[in-house]
């Protein structure tokens, strides 16, 4: 077992562009779930429309990348409004069911055969971010201790983490304002907020749009970082990873989603590499040594780690333990 390699690989993922994309998804979910109490189980849907907004604009219609980015963000706004208009007045559970269904319907629609001329169907879209890498200021990749990134990854990494910082700042500014106070009041009790003269539907819609657009920013950067868009990247488990990140870091905290994303990817990647190495050196029992066993056992270990976290620190790393006692 090469522990240095495991550590390096884990750290590489934890600080890489993918972790930053997940941080953006989790920041959006934090607005929905952490601050407003909206159970959005379809965050990946916002990521999908962001990514396809870039992909379709650039690869299918040959438009400039910046147009694609705007299309991706607008698609997030539109999806939030379409999703929210009929469901935000309903009880929380109907909203939750609708979101997960809509996200999955979008994925199946975008990967379907008839959509192929526009979305590339099951083959997806390639070379969507050439313009982004054409302006790459990095002449050599970032090196930090045991890890190093290529110039391309360095560029998308810096931009994506920069967006994470901006999104965190935006959400922090909003949540310390009276606007954020109304959202938190809605999370606690909608009727009380209504009785105090707040237009609950309007605030829930604003929250859904804001968090959704942050998810779409994640999708845009996901498309750019990978330079491809493929429908099967947007499976429902992405949403649940984002929830895991949020709960790990602490819901309704400012830096919870960032730290959560880093830790999640450190563990996720570290466990995967460890299992692969153990398999390589025949340390695994027979039933775990199949070709698909690495991914599966990594997920099992991840799940166990999250269970331990919820048992020993249910409020997340940055959450306030006082708040949990108040649910009675």
């Amino acid at each position: 077992m090469d522990f240095e390699a495991i550590f390096g690989s884990a750290l590489r993922s934890a600080l890489g562009p993918q972790a930053a994309v997940y941080a953006l998804l989790a920041i959006g979910l934090n607005v929905h779930y952490g601050y407003t109490g909206l159970l959005n189980f379809g965050q990946v849907g916002f990521m999908l429309v962001g990514a396809y907004g870039v992909g379709i604009s650039v690869a299918t219609f040959g438009l400039p990348l910046w147009v694609g980015v705007i299309v991706g963000l607008l698609a997030g706004v539109v999806l939030a409004i379409i999703l929210g208009a009929p469901t935000l007045r309903l009880r929380a559970d109907y909203f939750a069911i609708t979101t997960i269904a809509v996200a999955e319907v979008l994925r199946l629609l975008f990967r379907s055969g008839p959509a192929r001329p526009i979305t590339g169907g099951p083959f997806g879209l390639q070379s969507v971010a050439n313009e982004f890498y054409a302006i790459n200021p990095f002449t050599r990749g970032i090196r930090m201790g045991p890890i190093n990134y290529t110039t391309q990854v360095s560029w998308s990494l810096v931009v994506t983490w920069g967006l994470v910082a901006l999104a965190t700042l935006l959400v922090a500014l909003l949540m310390r304002s009276p606007w954020g106070r109304v959202l938190r009041a809605i999370r606690e009790d909608e009727d009380a907020a209504r009785a105090l003269g707040k237009n609950v539907f309007s605030y829930k819609m604003q929250s859904l749009v804001l968090g959704g657009v942050l998810g779409s920013v994640g999708g845009v950067m996901f498309a750019i970082a990978g330079s491809t868009v493929n429908a099967d990247s947007f499976r429902p488990q992405i949403t649940f990873y984002a929830y895991a990140i949020l709960i790990l870091g602490g819901a309704a905290t400012r830096i919870g989603p960032i730290v959560g994303a880093i830790i999640f990817w450190f563990l996720f990647s570290g466990v995967q590499v460890s299992v692969r190495q153990m398999q390589g050196s025949d340390l695994l029992p027979g039933f775990l040594s199949g070709a698909n066993a690495v991914g599966a056992s990594a997920l099992v270990l991840m799940g166990a780690a999250l269970v331990l976290l919820v048992v020993f620190r249910p409020q997340g790393i940055f959450g306030d333990p006082r708040e949990l006692k108040l649910d009675a």
Binding site: S177, P178, R181, R184, A185, R187, A192, L196, K198, N199
Partner: protein, 279 residues
């Protein structure tokens, strides 16, 4: 308005649907059906400005449903009502509140994971910082926030919650939550306060203090409607009593009128004889 003192009520006839000299709220033909059950069926009712009106009635009389209808939390099948001369039928609840008619709930709705101060500040209306874009620009709303905070501190002092202002509302006792809910409603600067069972589940020692706060609202010129089924409480502080049974107003009058009203006694205790009850 000096002429609308409680004494005005002395001249009013104790009869269901009687008209009042200066009504703040006028209800006409409001009906609410749940399937085959007519939960609320009020032909005509006026609520006098500047007095404490108690809404009483046995369990299931439709008191809370009536409250929900008036405040926009439920929609009637029929009927209309005007508040300060403006029709409120079909108006969403948050707009009802903004017009100065604020309610509390039978099951207290303290916003648990907000501090007591945040609970209070939420009640202030017309906050510039509650808009999405203005929220980002602190100087645009910080002065207003400071003014609201000062007003909230005054109210918290009056309701003896000032020491708790930085605690989570969920950490308060049941009685303190009732006080907080009332104080929070006052942040709206209402002209009509509707209290749904403000004394329910409050320990007897605190009941007196709550009653004092309710009468203080009237003395400051607000109109109060409160739901209660403890007769002793009602008789002690209300200027006018409206009795609801099976959704209908069966009696209204001064507390002394109500205590001797046969229809009311029948409604509470059941008819002991076979005479028809009065309408």
């Amino acid at each position: 308005m000096p002429e609308t003192t409680p004494h005005t009520m002395d001249a009013i006839e104790a009869r269901p649907g009687v008209s009042k000299p200066d009504p703040i709220l006028t209800i006409d033909g409001v009906q609410r059906n749940f399937g085959g059950l007519r939960a609320v069926d009020v032909d005509h009712l006026e609520i006098q400005r500047g007095v404490i009106t108690a809404l009483i009635g046995p369990n299931g009389a439709g008191k809370t449903t009536f409250f929900n209808l008036l405040t926009g939390f439920d929609a009637p099948n029929e009927g209309e009502w005007t508040f300060e001369g403006e029709s409120l039928g079909g108006m969403p609840s948050h707009q009802v509140t903004r017009r100065g008619m604020v309610r509390t709930f039978q099951l207290t709705k303290a916003l648990s994971r907000l501090t007591v101060m945040d609970n209070m500040l939420l009640g202030a209306t017309g906050q510039r910082g509650e808009g999405f874009l203005p929220a980002l620009f602190r100087p645009g709303w910080s002065q207003q926030e400071a003014d609201n905070t000062a007003r909230a501190e005054d109210l918290l002092t009056r309701f003896k919650l000032i020491d708790k202002k930085d605690d989570y509302a969920g950490e308060l006792s049941g009685g303190q939550r009732k006080l907080l809910e009332m104080a929070r409603a006052l942040m709206v600067e209402p002209s009509l306060v509707m209290l749904d069972e403000p004394m329910a589940g409050v320990n007897p020692a605190l009941v007196q203090s709550l009653l004092g706060h309710v009468t203080a609202l009237r003395d400051e010129g607000m109109s109060v409607i409160f739901v209660e089924h403890d007769m002793d409480v009602v008789m002690g502080i209300s200027d006018w009593v409206v009795v609801l049974a099976e959704g209908r107003v069966i009696a209204e009058g001064r507390p002394s009128d109500i205590m001797n009203n046969d229809a009311v006694i029948d409604a509470y205790l059941g008819s002991s004889h076979d005479e028809p009850t009065e309408e």
